[in-house]
């Protein structure tokens, strides 16, 4: 290991090793934290403590299952993209983000001329008709401030992994 520098908000080498050991998933054994501890040579208590700390400071969002939308019947995953007046995009972003069928809502840069859209709202539903219904409800909310929108349907997951750190040994 070349460096022990703090990676900004304080993950150290031991945290890195925990992250590296769990980024593919938690071991499916009765005592998973003991298993991780054994793997990287520290106690289960230390693992648990460090996971708690990383949860608290947001380095870990949550520990849990990531469902595959398609398998759950949410097959009409539509990424709706909107061209909204720059002055009002924040105001409307906040409103759209609270809609219960919108799972993610972000402001992103435009790329003229090919890509005029500055607001992305992910709509999950069981059918495309349902997605379109929801998108037109959003269009109604937006009224004149939105000049155009599109819905991009996903047709295939090409890759889906968690975060990948490279091996601590390579650092």
């Amino acid at each position: 290991m070349k460096t022990t520098k703090k990676n900004n908000e304080g993950i150290d080498e031991i945290d890195r090793r925990i992250i590296f050991a769990t980024q593919k998933g938690l071991p499916l054994v009765e005592r998973p934290f003991d298993a991780i501890g054994k793997q990287i040579g520290i106690s289960a208590n230390e693992i648990k403590y460090r996971l708690e700390v990383m949860l608290e400071n947001g380095i870990i969002r949550r520990i849990g299952a990531v469902p595959n939308h398609y398998h759950l019947g949410y097959v009409a995953n539509g990424m709706s993209v909107w061209d909204i007046d720059d002055e009002t995009v924040d105001e409307f972003g906040e409103i759209i983000g609270t809609l219960d069928y919108v799972s993610h809502c972000y402001k992103r840069p435009r790329h003229f001329p090919a890509w005029p859209y500055n607001l992305f709202a992910m709509i999950h539903a069981k059918t495309r008709a349902e997605v379109e219904e929801k998108a037109s409800a959003i269009a109604t909310i937006l009224g004149d401030v939105c000049s155009t929108y599109e819905i991009l349907y996903s047709t295939r997951i090409l890759k889906k992994t968690g975060l990948r750190l490279c091996s601590p040994q390579k650092k």
């Binding site: 998933g25 520990i63 469902p67 759950l72 972003g93 992305f120």
Partner: protein, 153 residues
């Protein structure tokens, strides 16, 4: 795209329960199993099957790379259809590419790049552009609005 598979009530309960906080205790599966009135062996076996069948893409800690000093962005490519498989292979070969989706649009490939250090995103984008000969449209989030929904299985 393949049809959604069939899951029974218990599978759905497991998926919904495990979207929330997983207990950080010595025997966490036993604790979750007790909430569901099943044995920890059954929970572990079901989880294993759900991961194996692809109903769950993963189970474990979800890390926020930005909090570790890294960066994340969403990027898009307009890939000619005859080159789609080849370009997919190139893009997926970068370990910094965490998710990659095919979408129906001229912008038909959308992927998330996460890196551990600032500045690395630009390098990955440049490398992908060099390798594919295509322009990568970088769309980092400028603002995140409230995120609600948890999918109900």
């Amino acid at each position: 795209m393949s049809k959604p598979a069939e899951y029974d009530t218990l599978d759905r309960q497991i998926i919904n329960t495990l979207q929330g906080g997983f207990p950080i205790v010595d025997k966490p599966y036993a604790q979750v199993a007790s909430w569901l009135n099943i044995s920890s062996e059954e929970l572990i076996e079901r989880l294993d099957n759900l991961l194996e069948s692809g109903a769950l893409t993963r189970f474990g800690p979800l890390f926020n790379s930005q909090r570790m000093g890294g960066e994340v962005t969403l990027a898009a490519l307009c890939v000619p259809s005859e080159r789609y498989d080849e370009v997919t292979e190139i893009v997926n070969s970068y370990y910094q590419v965490a998710h990659n989706y095919q979408r129906e649009h001229a912008f038909n490939m959308w992927f998330v790049i996460t890196t551990e250090t600032p500045g690395e995103i630009k390098k990955v984008i440049r490398a992908i552009e060099n390798e594919t000969g295509l322009k990568v449209y970088d769309c980092p989030k400028e603002k995140e609005y409230f995120i609600g929904l948890r999918l109900q299985a």
